[in-house]
Symmetry: D2
Subunit: 257 residues, 4 copies
């Protein structure tokens, strides 16, 4: 059969990225406590396409994913990019994967255990022989509004906030450590399982620690700036305001990303 994808193209337009998008696949990632964790990823895989080729070979992406789905992690991801570059005769290769990552947490007073899922993302690329990996994590937290607390005789509006951090880094680190930085920069952390004593503790802790959306991103930015292993970061927070039907948003990005 004719291999149409390998035919010459004469339009002289190089394609930056071509590949497969939104493949749902079971993957295995590293886990600080349990060595590894089974989860489900949404995966995008692309390569560049030089201007003289008509098309890429889409099936090869899925073959590679199939082969490496057991080792989608910070240590091994560059090997996958090398394989993509080689099998697809490309100069650049890109792998994005998003997956829920579960950590066992203990409620602050009762010690009750439960799992909380954090949305994690890897954006890996290989360009001009240089590997790059951006690791992202979305952490749900509680924020209490300082203005509402200050001006009100009682109570203060508060809400679930979704904090998303992306980083580049020098050497391996655990996602757990990034999550801890975020949870320590909010009015309080959230949990799947809380008993009454925990609820009292967290309500009071959050009330004593009010933070604007601006405060959350600044606090995290300061901690990441001071972290020797982090070479670049962006921090976003989106507050699901309890007094509005829209969200409050702030972001800080370190220059030079």
């Amino acid at each position: 059969m004719i291999d149409m994808q390998s035919q010459r193209d004469h339009r002289r337009v190089e394609i930056n990225k071509v590949g497969v998008k939104n493949i749902e696949y079971p993957i295995t990632v590293l886990d600080k406590k349990n060595r590894f964790q089974h989860t489900v990823g949404k995966v995008n895989m692309y390569v560049n396409l030089p201007h003289h080729f008509k098309g890429t070979h889409m099936s090869r992406f899925v073959e590679i994913l199939n082969e490496y789905r057991g080792t989608i992690n910070i240590k091994a991801i560059s090997t996958i990019l090398d394989k993509m570059k080689e099998k697809l005769n490309a100069e650049s290769a890109y792998l994005d994967v998003e997956f829920p990552y579960f950590i066992e947490k203990r409620a602050p007073v009762s010690g009750a255990k439960s799992l909380l899922g954090y949305t994690c993302r890897f954006f890996a690329s290989l360009n001009n022989g240089r590997h790059k990996l951006i690791v992202g994590i979305t952490v749900p937290v509680t924020t209490v509004c300082p203005c509402s607390r200050e001006i009100s005789e009682k109570g203060a509006h508060n809400q679930r906030s979704l904090v998303s951090v992306q980083v580049t880094f020098r050497k391996f680190f655990w996602i757990e450590d990034l999550i801890r930085i975020v949870e320590n920069s909010a009015s309080a952390a959230v949990f799947s399982l809380l008993k009454r004593g925990d609820e009292k503790f967290l309500t009071e802790k959050a009330y004593d620690n009010p933070m604007f959306v601006e405060d959350v991103v600044r606090s995290i930015a300061l901690r990441l700036s001071a972290h020797k292993n982090i070479t670049w970061f962006s921090v976003e927070s989106e507050n699901l305001e309890s007094i509005h039907n829209h969200n409050a948003y702030a972001c800080v990005e370190k220059e030079g990303g």
Copy 2:
């Protein structure tokens, strides 16, 4: 050309609903204050298909939508169903439409005006010559947790909640009146635009009026039960808990829907 859809089918399976789904279309609806309102609907249109027909004629649904898109409202929707039944030679006809409906609200202290969008839904059907219309609305509100308030020395966790009500009714009513019932059954209403005095007022009001997700649906259920024009209802509330990453949920449905 052959009309394949009109050919006989011999499998003896009647199809309950066949048609078009998820058409995005500009529509005009009634507005209590401004007479009418332009908005954008997501529309599903179905008819039944007797077992001896092979297929329905999908293009006729869009022709009807095109003709009637200026009068998608409680008064006129039965006319559209009659037209569907006739043009598609069907016995049953169904029209679902979901659209954002905007109401101008005044902040409680400053009087500042802004628009708030509520997701509205019509589920209209014509079966055995009988028209039925379910009207639904989703209303965002604030809820303060009574337990958190009671056990904590200061503050109380609160959150945005999404309350969805569906009703059948005897005679025409304004969506605005249904929204008011919901907003009066929460710890406080939400607004797009609040100045500092409004924020203080709403924080304190909500703190003085704590409600579990159970309280919200019960309060609305009682008001709808007492309403002479409402013949059936279902009420749901989903609280975007500020201390969890999951939601608290409750629903009450009147029997006989």
Copy 3:
């Protein structure tokens, strides 16, 4: 501390369902080939609340989920409902879970192996001492339009279709068998990994087997009607039409659900 949820409520409104919604949790399900499979579920858990209780105890749902997350399957789910009923002093209990379920498929000509994810759902309930389980599955398939094929001199428009089936049944069955019924009722099945020979085979097979959205649901309905283990079903298909930006839709539901 006061247990507000256990206080008496005097409004005389029984709540049909109250509980937790949209908890993301790692779960383990049964797998025909590999005995069990790790995946990630979206979970809702509810009980009824008699009119004299003010609130339910939300944390107990998560405790139960935590305990039973390794056995979310057709055989064990009634045990979880019994536990919910007992620990929450309820008369009714409900557990909904949705998860991607992965099956290894072989491409039809090359035999190339890959995984395809199917969205699976359990709707389990316990009411008046009676357990009920509805199992649902969404299966992506290819459909070729018979009308387009018939009236066109060459080609025929075709598209990805999403077929969703729900069933009740007498005794245990494998989801794999339900998926096979659906894939055999479409123009062709879909795969994650296809080589050129597979693509040729599937293109020609689908062209030779054109099906309206009505044909797909009728074909499945006939097979499920003839299946002795299936006591009730609903079948829906939604075609992501390649010539429109909206979908074609059909559904058949067996009476008596």
Copy 4:
């Protein structure tokens, strides 16, 4: 009352963007045929926040949106940014808005009229006194796979594809013209309403004009490169593959964005 947001902050972290996100608001945009069009936007509004201010004043964003919602268009959007910069004492201002834009189309043979909705986006910014506007549009089209057509004895798999283009430009242009460029670069355009003769015409036209996802983005890139008014662009296409449950994807971006 204390104005907490205006207090000094000592952490020396400038915030790139702070504001409101995901406000749903009725807006009015320009329309080539009908002068203007009512639609519904999802709006984000941000400003930068110098390091010495503790917080921004969120309510002012909504006041501005309320004032200018009737003139959200390419000509007037810089005025809104100027207003944001002034009222929020900022150096930078950002306004993103996404809305469905409806165009009346005539079916190619029957001439039957219907509306098709295209998702349109404006990304407007004011930085260092310089206004920038990126206009984006997502256009649904049909693509027929050249490989499937070539290797198969009959038929060819095809699917709905979503093509997203973003451009910067010298002087005002109509979104309609950008849409035409995209629709002319696909196997065929899609319509909401087609009669049988139209379906035959489009099926045959698409079959005679097969295009890989790579071909679509290259064709559009060539036309935009040759367009004197377009100073920068990115082009993406995502094919909802009828033989897979994942999508094929390609993008080309002009350097210097």
